[in-house]
Subunit: 337 residues, 2 copies
């Protein structure tokens, strides 16, 4: 893979536009919940003291701002959408960490690891509700709310499949792809179009931007799935080999299982038992590569990136916005962590 | 307490109006999630085969329908609100069972007990999102959506306090009451007014109905707290003494702790350690009663019921709707399970 790019300027610029509104929204939470949220976001430590540690990249809010700009509106128009998608994204992270039993995220202990499962469930619940409150207080509340709620519903359906697939041995590539479209594509598609929805853009503009975001999400997930097998903890903040250990049915794993060769059969048998130990994880990792699934998945990420950029071509926007959306797409797919 | 009343006709009538719309909404869920939801609702067994077993009473959707009728609209106007509040209520039940570690609800194993914590989290997440989708598809989406989202946010804040209070020894009656208003009052206040919101009623009408619902919720919670100590599993579907065992800070427990006598001090010491064993639960139960907290809480339920009925007096509505809202209130407070 290409080395990590420098953080694009657009992420710095859009973070400055979104952070104050996000902080205002968080003020509506009860104190205990807010402290855990600012901890999760990397804004504070557990006692609420300021810290800037392990913040997310802010790709979704950046997309929301850019989608307003793509519809030739002021970036401010996209802010409620940016805040809402960032809240939904973080709701899903907090709940996913419970579901997956992940102890660390961005090199820090996860919310459930520090505060217990009960608090983590409540924190996620509070974030999803806050996202709806933010949109309901703004203009275009219904269309933006639908954009968000439909994407959230799809994301949750994808997450349900993701869990169910762990104990299934017969997941096809089509099913795996459908799960990924839902789990990751839907919210990025929403992020990349909600600003345009708020700006009252034409359906064609909204659709083009959404297709860009959905494909970007698919590319993002393909890269994430590669990191879930070959990314070390120093890059992902998670233990290496986590996905194979948990028998997740990610794209490269399913692609390998579908290869139909001897390695695929051995992998099938390995993943058919209980959780894997370190030696089994190492063997499974080399089997996935031997099936050609690492190359296949990397190609697939590139192909979705191409489709994403193609979707942008149909949308009229300023050259600067187009350049920033293109840069952001490259950044997402080239990232190593 | 007065013996369980017969189920009021209004609950039968409103269930018939709401059930088809609720079933339609559930069709939007992915298959695995829907099967767990219909199991949770008591509509099916775990394999999706029809069953009618342990259904909820449907008080919230009934209130939503009645609130549309109170605003002199057709009951149909209240249906999206009824579906949405029922979805939010059940989202909270599914997540609360995980948080509280409860293995049974309405005499059947809880969702997390049969499907694991991950699935239960996802099922709750799917229900809250579906509630917003239902409202966003209907008329008055913004005002009804705000009514629902604000109530949900309050409910979640109350739930966060409820968890935090378990390990605190200094919870005051004021804090406990505020927690209850949020945890139970807010969603019943929403249920009792969302139909009127959908009908475009005046702010005074909406406020009167909401005050009725909020106070009804407070009365409901007081009765629930009594059942949490003195209600046996045959009445509640939960193990007896659950609340004391978990050191929950419910109204009667906090009232007892604040009594300032010797029994209160002994109770304080008992609840200051870890989880209680059966003998300690029995001792704590008699201490709460000796502090006069059982009588105090029962009086408090009656007093909130009075306030609820008073709030109704300020709202003009048909005599029949008024009678049904009054009956429903009595039913809620007189229930023994």
């Amino acid at each position: 893979m290409i080395p990590t790019s420098t953080v694009p300027d657009v992420l710095v610029r859009t973070r400055q536009a979104v952070a104050p509104a996000l902080a205002d929204a968080l003020d509506r939470l009860s104190e205990d919940v807010r402290r855990l949220v600012t901890y999760h976001l990397g804004w504070t430590d557990l006692d609420g003291r300021p810290a800037l540690d392990g913040e997310g990249k802010g790709i979704r809010p950046a997309l929301a701002i850019l989608s307003a700009e793509a519809a030739r509106a002021e970036s401010q128009v996209g802010v409620p959408g940016a805040v809402a998608v960032e809240l939904i994204h973080n709701f899903s992270l907090v709940h996913d960490d419970v579901i997956d039993g992940d102890l660390t995220r961005r090199h820090r202990p996860t919310v459930w690891a520090v505060a217990g499962i009960g608090h983590a469930i409540v924190v996620g619940d509070a974030l999803v509700t806050l996202a709806h409150q933010v949109l309901l207080d703004g203009p275009s509340a219904v269309s933006a709310g639908r954009c968000l709620a439909d994407a959230t519903a799809a994301m949750i359906a994808g997450q349900a499949d993701d869990i169910a697939f762990e104990t299934r041995r017969d997941v096809s590539l089509v099913q795996c792809t459908a799960m990924t479209v839902n789990k990751t594509g839907a919210l990025l598609g929403c992020a990349a179009s909600i600003g345009a929805v708020l700006a009252g853009a034409t359906p064609a503009t909204v659709r083009g931007l959404r297709d860009y975001g959905t494909n970007l999400g698919m590319a993002f997930q393909a890269v994430d799935d590669l990191l879930g097998i070959w990314g070390g903890p120093e890059r992902t903040g998670k233990p290496a080999g986590n996905d194979l250990r948990q028998r997740k049915k990610t794209l490269p794993i399913v692609a390998a299982l579908c290869a139909g060769n001897g390695e695929a059969h051995e992998l099938h048998d390995l993943l058919g038992g209980g959780l894997l130990d370190d030696q089994q994880v190492a063997r499974a990792t080399s089997l996935v590569e031997a099936c050609g699934a690492r190359t296949w998945t990397a190609n697939r990420a590139r192909s979705h990136l191409g489709t994403a950029l193609q979707a942008l071509e149909g949308v009229r926007m300023s050259p600067m916005t187009r350049r920033e959306l293109t840069e952001l797409a490259a950044y997402v797919v080239e990232r190593e962590s």
